[in-house]
């Protein structure tokens, strides 16, 4: 029974911990369209076939992405096989190995649960001349520099953080006269890109609105707890008027907490962008959301992958996931 429960329990745990954070921070930029490789100079026999392995399908955005990739792939004449690693790095590696080694696919688009677990897979793919699209940068996989047949797609955490922090500063300048007490919602330690991202937020905030000061910090894990924690922090600092929400859960939790306390919250920014958040932006509850552009990134990644499948000996590229700032009226 334990073998049955371990992956599932990990799923549940990971879904909570990683769901919101990893999803937005890590997978946000890693929407890599499964490139339908051109059959002409494919490396493998079924070179119009692509495997897509994204983190775990229990994450709604990954589900969305899978459907999008399959649809796009079909329109380009490629079959996309979607695998579900269920947030288990071993499973991801094993499932991919089986289709790559057997030559069943000509290309694979991978959003890695744990990049370091895939270094062996990368070698196998290169040997079999199967093109790869991987999230992150070469160093994550124990490689240095660009490789033949592999393109990397990274999230620019720095750029994300900068945009989020800048917008928060803008809001403070516009609505609060440049001075405000700020609540900073952090992510859990070990979240991908945490230091880059949060560092960039703070720097940009300080640069845009020097009169703003961060007076309280909480850690975001899930929405209900975020709501409670923000409520508690508000008790200790009743004059907080601006919140850096970190992600969708954190931002929505903060809004709920302030509403419950009967207080105004004019300024909230974060990175993410699910439906509820987008609605909140329209309603004016959230000032700005830095949204990673999945659809755009998908086409860019997919097309790059198919091009690579056509010629797997050429060195790959480093892509970046496009981001967009969404504000009311945009």
């Amino acid at each position: 029974m334990t073998s049955l429960t371990t992956p599932k329990r990990k799923t549940a745990l990971a879904a909570v911990a990683a769901g919101s954070l990893m999803l937005l921070a890590a997978c946000g930029g890693n929407t890599q369209p499964a490139a339908g490789a051109d059959p002409s100079s494919g490396s493998g026999s079924s070179s119009k076939s692509i495997a897509f392995s994204p983190l775990g399908l229990q994450i709604p955005a990954m589900q969305d992405l899978s459907k999008g990739v399959q649809g796009y792939g079909q329109s380009k004449g490629y079959t996309v096989t979607v695998q579900d690693p269920a947030l288990d790095p071993q499973k991801q590696s094993t499932d991919l190995q089986s289709v790559i080694e057997s030559g069943k696919v000509g290309g694979a688009w991978v959003i890695a649960v744990q990049p370091s677990a895939l270094s062996a897979l990368v070698k196998t793919a290169q040997q079999k001349k199967v093109a790869l699209l991987l999230n992150g940068v070469p160093a994550d996989y124990g490689l240095s520099g660009m490789q033949p047949g592999i393109t990397f797609d990274q999230i620019d955490y720095q750029a994300q953080g900068q945009a989020a922090g800048e917008e928060l500063g803008n809001c403070i300048n516009d609505k609060l006269g440049g001075n405000a007490q700020v609540l900073f919602e952090e992510s859990s330690p070990g979240t991908a890109g945490k230091d880059q991202y949060e560092g960039a937020v703070k720097k940009a905030l300080a640069a845009t609105a020097p009169g703003a000061s961060i007076v309280a910090t909480t850690t975001v894990t899930e929405r209900a707890k975020a709501q409670t924690d923000v409520g508690n922090a508000l008790q200790g600092h009743p004059d907080i008027k601006a919140v850096f929400g970190q992600n969708d859960e954190g931002a929505l939790g903060a809004i709920g907490a302030f509403a419950s306390a009967g207080k105004d919250l004019p300024c909230v920014t974060e990175t993410g962008g699910n439906d509820e958040v987008l609605q909140a932006v329209k309603d004016g509850k959230i000032y700005a959301v830095v949204a990673l552009q999945f659809a755009e990134d998908m086409t860019q990644s997919f097309d790059t992958l198919t091009a690579m499948m056509a010629d797997p000996t050429k060195d790959g590229q480093q892509l970046t996931v496009p981001q967009k700032v969404i504000k009311a009226g945009s």
Partner: protein, 364 residues
Amino acid sequence: MTTPATTPDQAAAAASQTGAETGAETTTVPTGHEMPRTITALVFVRDRGIFILWGLLIAFFAFWCSPYFFTTDNAILVANAGALTALFAAGVGIGVMTGVLDLSLPGTAAFASCVCGWLLTHGASTWEGLAAGMVCGVVVGLVNGFIALRGFNPIIITIGTLSVLSGLAAVVAGGYTFPGLTQLEFMGTHRYFNVPAPVYVVAVVYLVGTVFLTRTRDGIRLMAVGGNAEAVRRAGIHSSRYTVLGFVISGLLAALGGLVTTAVVTEANPAASPSIIFTALTAVALAGVALTGGRGSLPRVLVGALILATISNGLTIRGIQPYWATVVTGALLLGSLLFERVIQASVSKRLMATANLSVHQKKV
């Protein structure tokens, strides 16, 4: 049949033997109705210690975090923050007290809230959605209970149902969540006389629960089954019914907890959060509820949950990292275990010295 009398009691016994043969009355014996003061005091501390602990914590934070801590607003906030934990703690607590360790709580909560969320987003009325959610809890309890009756280990069973339920919840939610459930706000963030709804829910649950467990026949039997199922069986009672009842109550409270959580954040999420069990168990353990079952009091569980919320609240106000809250809670838990052991040993020792018993012969 005479034996040399060495103690006053034995002398009385010897006298009563001969007395019986000649038809005389017995001599007086101590009635054992008086408990020595020290024992009463020790038992008081053991049973009420947690209230004292809470009082001390409040006093401490009142000074350390002034002026923000010791206000009505903050008290209400703490009560609200502890409400969710309190609901799950009630489920776990009643389960443990009745001999049932139900680990499927988070799964039941997620499943019930997703079923409710699905119904609400498909046009059902609020009451229909809530009723359906509660029914889910009862059904899960029945399933757990009946499997347990077949003799399987309840811990393994409930871990199994937890997995099943998390999966089912995700199926119901189609991989997404159900946001925008504002029709549940009346039991979420809405305030009545400035007190948020969840506090009222908790108050009702604990009141009903305490009365049920201590004053009704089924409640008393439920606790008895938790303490010694064999004894209950030998009294001619179907103890298996009560085991199932324990699971049903646990499932029902889990569902209620899930529904209130959903109401507070207006979103139904299929991700079953195992941390719920952890905090609930901590509150229950702090309350001194023995994991072997049969003993414990709901009011103490409530205070356990409130202690956790108080610590978290006080430390957050002071800007201390949340990890310290976990450290403090863990330390308190260990401390209270030690404390209880010391008191228990002390009470036993003193009891042995005072055991009073007599059986006397009547005139024939």
